[in-house]
Symmetry: C2
Subunit: 383 residues, 2 copies
């Protein structure tokens, strides 16, 4: 069993990329990562993506990327787990390197969301939910989260103003993030005045649609002497029951809890040993539930903790250090790879103004639908 | 590194399954496999599928299956590599068990092709080819194979009648295959009189559209003392250049060659040590090219060898022992799993009238598009 390191990353700025096809985006991210490691020739390629078929009439992304890079004879394929596709793709790269079946695994997450109209994108995203039980009653992914948010606010007596703390933090961090979709700060009034999407979720409670691709190059311990490595010391994936109504407590993210517990158990770390957290803040409510499930806030208290500065870049538990899903952007199948790449930047002191000073451990947390499939990674500074 | 065994399989008969959703199909195959091993609780689930989004508005199949089976906390996701999705899914299950990260990996391949109309299915299948270069000029997957078939027949002076040997063998073997889509023999005249689809490919040169699901339960050496095990002694995946025009020799399947060579090298076997071959006979031409690339026939000679009985069930190198893609059926993302399941049946003497007597080694060969992504498995009888 080999140790597994991130050797380099490549990030395509997220936004409207009308002029680039899905293969263009994959190749751009891959080359950015590969150019930094001329010694590394990928012997495995894994692409995380959710709906390239619906957006681009294109499947077979793994071999497509390999071929575009001029590679032949490489195991290459796509991994899909809805919005958790990127995190699971990193996990599968990790597994192959750990098993000694790959020395250099190139993992790319990609999604094109802006080539299709909003109703089509909404329909594509709904494929993360059960066609026979959820889609069929007209529930969209956002209306599902709206029900959860309303329940949360009522159960814990949390105000609309308090909830807004999360998008405000995310946008603040994105201002200086080169690859972020929205490099601008927002105020409480901006959130409260933004259009209602699905009551109580407003526009600024929601992660945006965007085109993007991110790459991470994973290498085995054969390359442990190379510079600028970050070690992946845990990679865990877990599922939860598909339908929220099947869950004992819809406000507790059980897949997150299980994956996190396994990751902490295997590394011997406590959650408080982690220096920053790239969480799955697809909506304001998912940020709150994630932090509470992880034990970083008491139940019902995450928004107030956020208001009090606990999750700021210079706070006790920095989150979404480059803007998170809310402001860095959320090209769904790519997001989990962006998160691991961002953790790499933090742990090699390449985060610029977004640097979490002296960070030694970083955690990424990426899920599909509402915590149906969750991937948790813990990364560690080397040296 | 653990050894990897197939402990049981589950096969859904292929055909028109209008009354079953994609989750119904997955669950049926999975339960058939799990029921035979009450001692086995999956700790990893991998689903091979190509276009559930296009056919069923459903992604997130891994967690969907896990949830339908009442499982929580399991790593579960979908793997996609066009028509090679099933073979790659088995490979990923193999990797996880080999790495010691799973003791019981449930691998299910599934595809629903009959809920959508033929033009939609043709469009969905074309997603295996490059959207920017192949789809855009109106090439369908079948017209691409037609060009290759014409080139092959002209180059080697092979007649239309000789080519027909392959579908005739496939249909003959399917007659007694319980899960086959077409349990009927066909004659040379049937092939020659069948409708022209894309000259020179006729209807009976083409694998059919069908709904199906297959499951294989992979277990680690922790369960090596269980009965009815078959060992997977090689699992290799390789890619070839995406566009056929990029290839030096369009009649040589380089991904197949590379994956096969690695599998043989790792096991120390010669190709002639293998007792039967589940090949990717999606079209008559792909059967011929596969056998020639594997070295079982000289270039341009496979159809004549077929006519001479070399590939019959009782011949020197039996192929498509339950009817292959042509007659057992080809629910695309499921096919690679059907093949491994069939090899399991052969190597545990459960193949009934289709049994290859005394078979010790079996090979499965599954590719996406025309050998863009190829998965090769070698399975070995235990005891």
């Amino acid at each position: 069993m080999s140790r597994v390191f991130v050797a380099s990353v490549g990030l395509v700025p997220i936004g409207d990329q009308w002029h680039k096809s899905i293969s263009d985006l994959m190749v751009e991210a891959a080359l950015k990562a590969l150019d930094k490691c001329p010694w590394a020739k990928p012997d495995r390629i894994i692409v995380g993506n959710m709906f390239s078929g619906a957006s681009s009439s294109q499947e077979h992304l793994g071999a497509l990327l390999a071929s575009c890079l001029g590679l032949k004879g490489v195991p290459a394929f796509k991994v899909e787990a809805a919005c958790g596709s990127g995190g699971v793709a990193v996990h599968e790269g990790y597994v192959a390197v750990k098993a000694g079946l790959a020395d250099v695994a190139l993992v790319v997450g990609v999604e094109k969301m802006k080539d299709i109209l909003t109703p089509q994108a909404t329909k594509a995203l709904a494929m993360a939910e059960h066609a026979d039980y959820t889609q069929v009653v007209g529930t969209t992914f956002i209306s599902l989260n709206a029900l959860i948010m309303r329940y949360y606010m009522e159960k814990y007596g949390v105000t609309r103003e308090e909830m807004a703390a999360f998008p405000i933090i995310a946008h603040k961090n994105a201002v200086t993030a080169p690859h972020a979709q929205f490099k601008r700060a927002i105020t409480l009034q901006d959130v409260l005045n933004s259009p209602m999407i699905s009551d109580p979720i407003r526009l600024l409670d929601s992660s945006p649609a965007g085109d993007g691709a991110a790459a991470v190059l994973l290498v085995s311990e054969r390359y442990a002497s190379k510079e600028n490595l970050v070690e992946i010391i845990a990679s865990e994936v877990a599922n939860n029951y598909f339908l929220v109504v099947e869950r004992e407590d819809p406000l507790f993210l059980e897949a997150t809890y299980i994956a996190l517990k396994r990751a902490l158990d295997k590394t011997g770390l406590k959650i408080t040993d982690i220096d920053f957290f790239e969480i799955h803040d697809a909506f304001t409510i998912t940020a709150a539930l994630s932090l509470e499930t992880m034990g970083l806030s008491e139940r019902g208290k995450a928004p107030r903790d956020a208001l009090n500065g606990k999750f700021e870049l210079n706070g006790e538990f920095p989150i979404s250090t480059f803007g998170g899903l809310k402001a860095r952007g959320h090209p769904v199948g790519a997001t989990g790879v962006y998160q691991v790449a961002e953790a790499y930047l933090q742990l090699t002191d390449q985060a610029g103004p977004n640097q979490v000073k002296g960070a030694k451990y970083g955690l990424t947390h990426n899920f599909g639908a509402l915590d149906i499939t969750t991937a948790v990674h813990i990364l560690k500074r080397v040296g």
